[in-house]
Point group: C2
Chain length 239, copies 2
DNA sequence: GCAGAAAGTTGCATAACATGCACTTTTGCG
DNA sequence: CGCAAAAGTGCATGTTATGCAACTTTCTGC
């Protein structure tokens, strides 16, 4: 059995190379656009050979979107360390909000990465793939936490719902980046709270409800975005 | 301004070519595996030139996963024709269950497509992309329905949640294909119903609740899957 | 119906992508 | 130190993907 694997020169160097490739990719593509940057450009910026790139990523798109393995491992641990009787969505919310807080420290880096992905349909697909990686990781961790089978329906749906809220929140944050990411994420879960009642009239009909209790702790971004919607012009498949 | 576009020889031929390419792709990749089939193989089977392939799809993966534009348009119309005061998730549920019923007629075709996608990580990413296409379409339709802006947070979260449930349901159906797809989808929304309460203890602790009311209409697939979970061996990024 | 416009198909050329293989260098460990 | 495992590299090769310039089919108005 291979030893710990965490810490050690080898592991550190590997992370360094991955990070170098990823950040070089983000920077270059941000400057020139996806198609104007070759993988070779990226490897030269990161000072490794072209061939080495494919030891880390299978494509340019993956380099720009794949979630950090270390972050996934951290999320998994955080989730497992939540109190066992805590409802799944609460645990997910807290873990993801905490994660968003940490990510907020690299705010500009993330914003640029997101805006880069927004531009190219290929990157949107790749980004969708990376969300499902996160989702699977969370679902597996949840199943562990509940001691249930790995394909627990509850766990999968809970993870899907949470990641859905997160995804929408992040998409919104990309436009409203003045607000801390963590707040937007929490607002996303709040919106989830609104939508979750199958048998309730749509949002606009609820303004007459007692607003104090539930709406108390909500962040200001839960309100409708100010940015005018970019008019939908196409409905083509994807790219 | 271009005329109607629906019906007419041109449009019919285009659909025929797209269908031919897609089904050839599914068949060949199902037989030989993704990497053993070149795009040229697919175009020869569909009896068009290699160059024509790229008039329809940007990649092999897209040919195997992109949602049918006609189906998207139909879903949009169905959603818009639901009663205006109906809660978003109810409308989504009914539309998607109805869609699943129609899709159930091409049961084997869909099952093969799904099992093909399951095998290759690239296809899983592409599939994730196609889910988000569906999600965006539904979110836009919902926003229309509510008369709100195109980036309505409620609509986006509702669509994300619904597609999440659908996605998990379809994933499950791939293993439990003896049950009609529509039932599994409905069960997915039922599971959503369980998960949606942020402040409630996890599923296993709720067995003492009055079971009759909510659980009455639930399909039998809502129970834990029989199939033993394929043990998670890796947690690598994606491919 | 017919002429022109618009849309779709095709072949060609070309650069980038992606992978297998063999080889070298680095790292970890006794 | 010396060996084994892991990572990096160069090379060869087939595939993918796109722009461009024909050519063909379909559509529209007259």
């Amino acid at each position: 059995m291979p030893p710990d694997d965490t810490s050690g020169r080898r592991e550190r160097k590997k992370n360094a190379v991955r990070t170098a490739l990823r950040s070089s990719a983000v920077r270059l593509v941000g400057e020139k656009g996806l198609d104007a940057v070759t993988i070779e450009d990226i490897t030269e910026a990161a000072d490794v050979s072209l061939r080495t790139f494919f030891n880390y990523f299978a494509s340019k798109e993956e380099a720009l979107t794949a979630p950090d393995p270390e972050r996934l491992a951290r999320l998994r641990l955080e989730l497992l360390s939540r109190p066992a009787q805590e409802p799944a969505l609460v645990a997910l919310r807290e873990v993801l909000v905490a994660d968003a807080t940490e990510l907020g420290e690299r705010r500009d880096e993330w914003l640029r990465q997101l805006s880069v992905c927004k531009r190219d349909p290929r990157l949107l697909v790749a980004l969708a793939g990376s969300w499902t990686v996160l989702e699977r990781e969370l679902a597996a961790a949840l199943a562990d936490r509940l001691g249930s089978a790995d394909d627990d329906l509850q766990a999968q749906v809970a993870a899907a719902v949470a990641v859905g809220a997160l995804r929408v929140a992040v998409r919104r944050w990309r436009n409203e980046s003045s607000v801390p990411l963590a707040e937007v994420v929490r607002a996303g879960f709040d919106a989830l709270d609104d939508v979750r009642h199958l048998s309730r009239p749509p949002a606009r009909a609820r303004s007459s409800l007692p607003a104090g209790s539930r709406a108390a702790g909500r962040s200001r971004v839960a309100a409708r975005s100010i940015a005018p919607a970019p008019t939908r012009t196409d409905s083509r498949p994807e790219r």
